[in-house]
Amino acid sequence: MALFDSSASKKKGGRSSVPDGLWVKCDGCREILYHREVSGNAFVCPRCGHHFRISARERLTMLFDNGRYKELFAKVRPTDPLEFVDSRPYKERLKAYQKRLKVHDALLVGRGTIGEIPAIVAAMEYAFMGGSMGSVVGEKLTSAAERCRQRRIPLVTVACSGGARMQEGVLSLMQMAKISSALARLREEGIPFVSVLTDPTTGGVTASFAMLGDVNIGEPGALIGFAGPRVIEQTIRQSLPEGFQRSEFLLEHGMLDMVVPRQELKDTIARCLRLLHAA
């Protein structure tokens, strides 16, 4: 029922990301900020700590040593298995996003080092159809987990998604099982998997890999849940308590190991890998 956050799918990924230009407005404190102030601070508002949404490329650059990585599985591209048409054919939608964002789909995978430990990072691209998970996200993430198993190197995922991709129907749903199966095998081998959950992480992404980390890390204030807030409000017919489904709430309820500001994220992951990974 609730593999999607309907509110998320409407934002088209624009809301929190940092537009190019000299000035940006913070969604947290409404201050007008100098762009460089924000980009130089890991895209976190220096006034209020609001975390701007960032692209998958920025994420990989930020997490790997010296911002250097080799992209993996870059050739995997989406098709239209259901010949899905709503107000617009899925094929056209895909083309428009690909053209605008210069990526094939909603996941980028890179290999590099984090604190000198070789690792693979898979980061979701929210701007691409709300980071929705279809066959391409499933295939790349599964391949990433398999590669980590072969090479005995840790896996880090960065979730940012409204959930499964409706336009690929039940095949999207099956990606949850496919990825989780690959993670089960990685786990058997004693190879660490760190899951980072960012704003928003809901639906089928939360209910599969994002919750399966040996270590689950949330970014401050991120919306994280199975059902989206709107779906819950419609079901129970009451408004939700303040802070419900935010990172801090999940920490309190035992679903996250820690909430870490983005400026400290890389060092925290590196420390976890040093403590867990038998190189």
């Binding site: 499964a164 690929e168 129907g169 059902a227």
Partner: protein
């Protein structure tokens, strides 16, 4: 009939009712005439069901539910309760029973028949406790070397405050991961509504079967219509676009077999529906029991899901 039903099925249901009544007095000319009319009506209506009509049959209030199938197919059922952590979730039933004289674990979503029971069963929408109970019973099955049969019939996992607080997403995710490595055969059967993650959490299996009029989808047609068409009343279009019928899923390579239902749908003859499912389960169980090495079973299960999805590279 006390409960609302799919309007397009009403003529068939009235005929089935009359036929049953006529047969109560033994076979007669009248019964034979009604039987012929019933057969003809079924043929006409079922020749080209729309996906939306399939959804209506899958959600039919008189469709057999998990406990009906268990009692129709198995004996000596012992139901187990609780996740040993927080509570028992009546939206999922789980336990052990004899199928063909052999012990199996059986787990399924459970909907209620009357209002009180519907509420108690939360309309077949599990909370995390339900998934955790299911996993507990599956792990018992593994320890005791019993195959697992799951019966899927849910609108979805419950979207509520308490469910979120107790980790609905984590409970589902954990089941997916643990089922991938469970060292006994698993057969999942979508008997009614296969509602997204809430259905998948019991469906990582060696065989996935689907009743002829069941549906299995990443989102309900209503939910999909609300998001993509911005209009819930476009559910019929969404049902079409989502490819959620048994035939669609077979074509997409997600399910292994379509289990036939009695003429007019399982709700018209639940015991016959149970017989038909039994014969299919029997065959698949026999095949799976022949796989003696657990690693081979798991390798095949992995490959099954590994190859799902369509992309180019």
């Amino acid at each position: 009939m006390a409960t609302p039903t799919a309007p397009f099925l009403e003529p068939i249901e009235r005929l089935a009712e009359s036929l049953k009544e006529a047969r109560r007095h033994g076979e007669s000319e009248e019964a034979a005439r009604l039987a012929a009319r019933f057969e003809q009506a079924v043929k006409e209506t079922f020749r080209s069901l729309t996906p939306w009509q399939q959804c209506q049959i899958a959600r039919h209030p008189e469709r057999p539910y998990t406990l009906d199938f268990i009692h129709g197919m198995m004996t000596e059922f012992v139901e187990l309760h609780g996740d040993r952590t927080f509570a028992d979730d009546p939206a999922i039933v789980a336990g052990f029973a004899l199928f063909d004289g052999q012990p199996v674990a059986v787990i399924g979503h459970q909907k209620g028949r009357d209002t009180t029971e519907k509420v108690r069963r939360n309309f077949g929408m599990p909370r995390p406790e339900g998934y955790r109970k299911a996993l507990r019973v599956m792990q018992m099955a593994e320890r005791f070397g019993r195959p697992v049969i799951t019966l899927i019939d849910t609108p979805g996992a419950y979207p509520g405050i308490d469910a979120e607080e107790r980790g609905q997403a984590e409970a589902i995710a954990r089941n997916l991961r643990e089922m991938a490595l469970l060292k006994v055969p698993i057969i999942a059967v979508v008997t009614g509504e296969g509602g997204s993650g809430g259905a998948l959490a019991l469906s990582v299996a060696d065989r996935i079967l689907m009743l002829e009029h069941a549906v299995y989808s990443v989102i309900s047609p209503e939910g999909c219509a609300a998001i993509l068409w911005k209009d819930q009343s476009r559910a019929e279009d969404a049902a079409q676009a989502l490819r959620l019928t048994a035939a669609d899923l077979k074509r997409l390579g997600v399910i292994d077999e379509i289990v036939p239902e009695p003429p007019g749908g399982a709700q018209l003859d639940p015991s016959r529906a149970a017989e038909l499912l039994s014969s299919s389960l029997r065959r698949h169980l026999k095949e799976l029991r022949r796989v003696k090495k657990p690693n081979l079973l798991l390798a095949r299960r992995y490959r099954k899901f590994r190859t799902m999805g369509e992309f180019v590279q």
